[in-house]
Symmetry: C2
Subunit: 448 residues, 2 copies
C-alpha cells in the first residue's frame, strides 16, 4: 500500500461543484488501495478577497494579523472537502496547519518551515481515513503565532508532508496537463513532458515557468520526494519530476521558457579596474534590487561596458542606484532598454552534448532575430532579445529542438502511469535507497 | 487597574467601517487605564453564509467539519479588529479559541466548555496589549477537534474568560441600549433597566427575551461575574446584571416578555388515576418535545383535562404522541389551539410582595382579555391568552406596573456608570467577597 500526497490548488476547489469533483476523484483513488493525504489551497479567489477585506479595514494591515486572517481561507477548503468526501461515503478528517504541526519561524506572511511533526496523520491514515490538510499555513514553536508560507506555500506544505511521512509520491493537480515544453498560448504543439529532473524544473521555475514554485522543488530534491504534476480536469498521465538518471541526458532540450517583464541596463565607459563592478552590484544588492543576467564587454583602452537585466518594476530604482555609482566611478553614462525579453532553453542533456548553444544561436539567426545578451548555466542557456520577437523565437526553437514531437521519450520511455509511481518508488525504497529516485525499468526504447 | 471583558456581536463588526468604530472605542477605553479583553463574533451574516456554503456542498454536512468551517468566521473578525486597532496606534494581539485554551467536550456544533486555560492572555495584558479573542469556538483536550459552542456561544466565551481571569466586569455591546422593560416595538416607552438580577435575567431569557443567552447568564451567576449590557451604537449607561441585593426587591415587576410561537394542547377526559400524567409527559420527553406550561383541571367524576403548551413548530409531532397516549389511557380526545401566546411578568419583588398576581389579572380583566392558562414561579407569573391580544396585554401591564417611569430606580439608585463597574467590583473583591455582587453605595434615595 503506497502513501500518496495529493495537492489541489485554488482553481480545483473554486466552488462546491469542483469540491465535489475532487471528493469523487479522491475517493476513487483511495478505493484503489493507496493511503491518501490531500493538501488544499483556499477556494479560487478567496485569498485575494481576504487581502482586499484587510485593505478595506486598514491600508497597512499588520503581518501577524494578516496571517491569522489568511489562514481561514485554507481552513474553509479542508472543512468543505472533508464533508464532501464523508457525504459521498468516504472517510476523511481535516487538519489545519497548526493541528498537523507544521512548525515555522515567525516571519509572518513568508514563514519558513522549521520542521513537520505530521501529528495525528499516521493515526488517521492507519484508521483508513483520508487526511485533508490545509496548505499554506503553520504555527510557531510555542503555538502563539499562526503563520503563512507565502507564494507557493500550499505546494510547499504538500512536499514537506510527503518528506516527513516518507510518502511514495507527491502529486500536484493543476489547470495544466503537466509540465509543458513551453507556453501553449505561443506554441499550440507544446506537450506535457513525461518526466523532468528536479534541476531542470528549478531552472524552468527561475526562468519564468510558474507550474511549481522553486522552493517546493528544492525541498523535494533535498528529501528525494518524487513529484507528479497532473491536470485536475482531465485524466492524463502528467509529468514526473525526479532526480536525474543516466538516460535522461539523451534529451538535449527539455523545455523553453521566456519572460517579458525584463529590462536591460547598460553602464557605459566604466573604468576597467578591480572593484568597480563589485561596487555597482553591491550597491544594487544593498537596495534589494535583484539582478538577473550580467555581461561585461571586453575592455578597450582601459574602459568597458557593463550590462545587466532587472525586472521592469525595479527599473526606476535601479537607474537611480546605477547613476549614483556611475558618477562615483566616473563612468560615461547609464542607458536602459525596456524593449527586451529573456528566452531560455533548459535540459540536462546539454551538459554532456556540445552544439546545443550553437544550434540555438543558429536557429535565431536564421529567423533574423538579434541576440543582445547571452548567459549560460550547466543546464540552461538564456538569451536577451527584442521583446517583440520573443514569441516568434519560442516557436522557432520549439521546432528546432523537436519539442513538439515525442523525441524526449527517446531518453526515458514513460514506464509508469502516475498511479504506479507509488508502487515503483516503494519498491526502490525497499531496495535500500534512502532518497529514492526512480530508474527506468527497461532499457530506453526508440519510439521512432 | 480594572480588567474588563468586552463582547461585540456580529452586528457591531458587520463591515470594515464598524470594525474601525469598535477599534476606536476599544482604544479610547483602554487609554482610560483598564486592561481590556475583547471577544468578537463573526461579521454580520458570515456564519449564515458559511452554513449556506456547506449546504451547497452537501445537504447533510458532517458536524466535525462544520465546526472547522464555522470557526473561520470569528477568526476573520479577530484578525481584522486587531489590525484595525494596531493601525490606529493601539496595541493588540488576536487569539483563536484553541490558542487561548477554551477546552470543551467533543459535542460538535454545541460543545460545552470544560475549562478555560486563558493561555497567553495575562502575558498580553500585562504587556499593555488589548487581547482580541474569537468567540464561539474551542478545542477538545487533545487539540484534535475544533469545536463550536452553539447558539449564544460568543457570549459564553466572554463570560467564561471573565470568570477564568477574575475580571471586574463583562460588558456586552448589543444593538439595544440595555435590557429593556419590554419589547420597544410594542411599547415605545420601554426603557433600559439600570440593573437586574441574574435570576430575573434568566427568567427573561426563558420567557422570550433574546438579549442574552440563558447559558451565559447561568455561567455568570455561578462564578459571580458582573455583566453589563450596552449599546454598541450610542454611549448610554446600559444595564448591570448582578446577584440580588436587598434593595432590588422594592421593584415589583422588572420586565414583561412575551412569546407568540406557542400552541396549547388539551387532552380531554383523562382518567384521574396515578401515573397517567407521567405517561403522557414521559412519552413527549422521549420524543424530544419540550413542554412549557402544564395545567391539570380539578378532577370531576374520576376524569380530568390536562393542558400544556409547546412551541408551534413541535405541534404536529406533539399531537401524534399525545393521541397515541390518549388512546392507550382511554382519554376522550386531544385538541389544540395555535391561536395563543404567552405573556410573563418578572421581578424579584413579587417574592416578598403580595398582590402582584392580582394586579396582573385585574389589569387584563379590565381590558377584557381572557386568561386561558396561568403558571407561576417564585419571580415570574406567566399567562396564556389569545394571540391577537398579546401586544395590547403587554401595553396594559407595562403601564399598570409603571415600567415606563423610573420607578425601578426607587429600589436601587443607579450609582455606577458601566465604566465604574470595574472599580466598584474591584473594591468589593478586595473587601473579601469571592463571588462579588455589587451592593448599593448609599441608602436608596427616593427619586420621586
Amino acid at each position: 500500500m503506497a502513501l500518496i500526497v495529493q495537492k489541489y490548488g485554488g482553481t480545483s476547489v473554486a466552488n462546491p461543484g469542483r469540491i465535489n469533483a475532487v471528493a469523487a476523484s479522491v475517493i476513487r483513488r483511495s478505493r484503489q488501495g493507496d493511503q491518501l493525504l490531500v493538501v488544499v489551497s483556499a477556494m479560487g479567489d478567496a485569498t485575494d478577497d481576504l487581502i482586499a477585506l484587510a485593505k478595506s479595514v486598514t491600508a497597512k494591515p499588520d503581518p501577524r494579523e494578516m496571517d491569522v486572517l489568511l489562514a481561514t481561507g485554507e481552513q474553509v477548503s479542508i472543512a468543505l472537502l472533508a464533508m464532501a468526501i464523508k457525504a459521498r461515503g468516504g472517510d476523511a478528517t481535516s487538519f489545519t496547519g497548526p493541528q498537523v504541526g507544521i512548525i515555522t519561524d515567525s516571519r509572518h506572511t513568508k514563514a519558513r518551515i522549521l520542521r513537520v511533526e505530521a501529528k495525528g496523520i499516521r493515526k488517521a491514515l492507519d484508521a483508513g481515513k483520508i487526511a485533508i490538510v490545509a496548505g499554506f499555513q503553520g504555527e510557531t514553536e510555542t503555538g502563539e503565532e499562526i503563520t503563512t508560507l507565502g507564494r507557493g506555500g500550499s505546494d510547499l506544505t504538500a512536499v514537506a508532508l510527503a518528506a516527513a511521512l516518507d510518502a511514495d509520491a507527491c502529486e500536484f493537480y493543476k489547470d495544466v496537463p503537466g509540465v509543458l515544453t513551453t507556453d501553449p498560448r505561443i506554441v499550440p504543439e507544446a506537450r506535457a513532458l513525461p518526466c523532468i529532473t528536479y534541476d531542470e524544473m528549478l531552472e524552468m521555475a527561475s526562468a519564468g515557468s510558474q507550474v511549481l514554485n522553486a522552493r517546493s522543488v528544492e525541498y523535494a530534491k533535498r528529501f528525494g520526494v518524487p513529484l507528479v504534476v497532473r491536470s485536475s480536469f482531465e485524466d492524463v498521465k502528467g509529468t514526473l519530476i525526479v532526480e536525474e538518471e543516466p538516460g535522461m541526458e539523451k534529451v538535449l532540450v527539455r523545455g523553453i521558457t521566456y519572460a517579458k517583464n525584463e529590462a536591460k541596463v547598460t553602464v557605459l565607459g566604466v573604468p576597467d579596474r578591480p572593484g568597480v563592478a563589485a561596487e555597482l552590484f553591491r550597491a544594487l544588492a544593498a537596495a534589494d534590487l535583484n539582478v538577473d543576467m550580467i555581461i561585461q564587454d571586453i575592455s578597450e583602452s582601459g574602459v568597458t561596458n557593463i550590462s545587466f537585466t532587472v525586472s521592469q518594476g525595479d527599473l526606476p530604482r535601479t537607474l537611480e542606484v546605477a547613476r549614483g555609482v556611475a558618477a562615483r566611478v566616473k563612468a560615461d553614462d547609464v542607458q536602459s532598454d525596456e524593449n527586451v525579453g529573456k528566452l531560455s532553453i533548459i535540459g540536462v542533456g546539454m551538459r554532456s552534448h556540445s552544439g546545443v548553444a550553437a544550434a540555438m544561436f543558429e536557429g535565431l539567426a536564421q529567423a533574423g532575430i538579434n541576440i543582445l545578451m547571452i548567459s549560460t548555466s550547466e543546464i540552461k542557456i538564456s538569451v536577451v532579445i527584442e521583446k517583440a520577437r520573443i514569441e516568434e523565437a519560442v516557436r522557432v526553437l520549439h521546432k528546432r529542438f523537436g519539442l513538439e514531437t515525442d523525441q524526449v521519450e527517446l531518453a526515458r520511455p514513460f514506464v509508469t502511469a502516475p498511479e504506479e509511481v507509488g508502487m515503483l518508488t516503494s519498491r526502490m525504497r525497499r531496495a535500500g535507497k534512502v532518497r529514492p529516485a526512480p530508474k527506468p525499468r527497461a532499457k530506453a526504447r526508440r519510439r521512432r
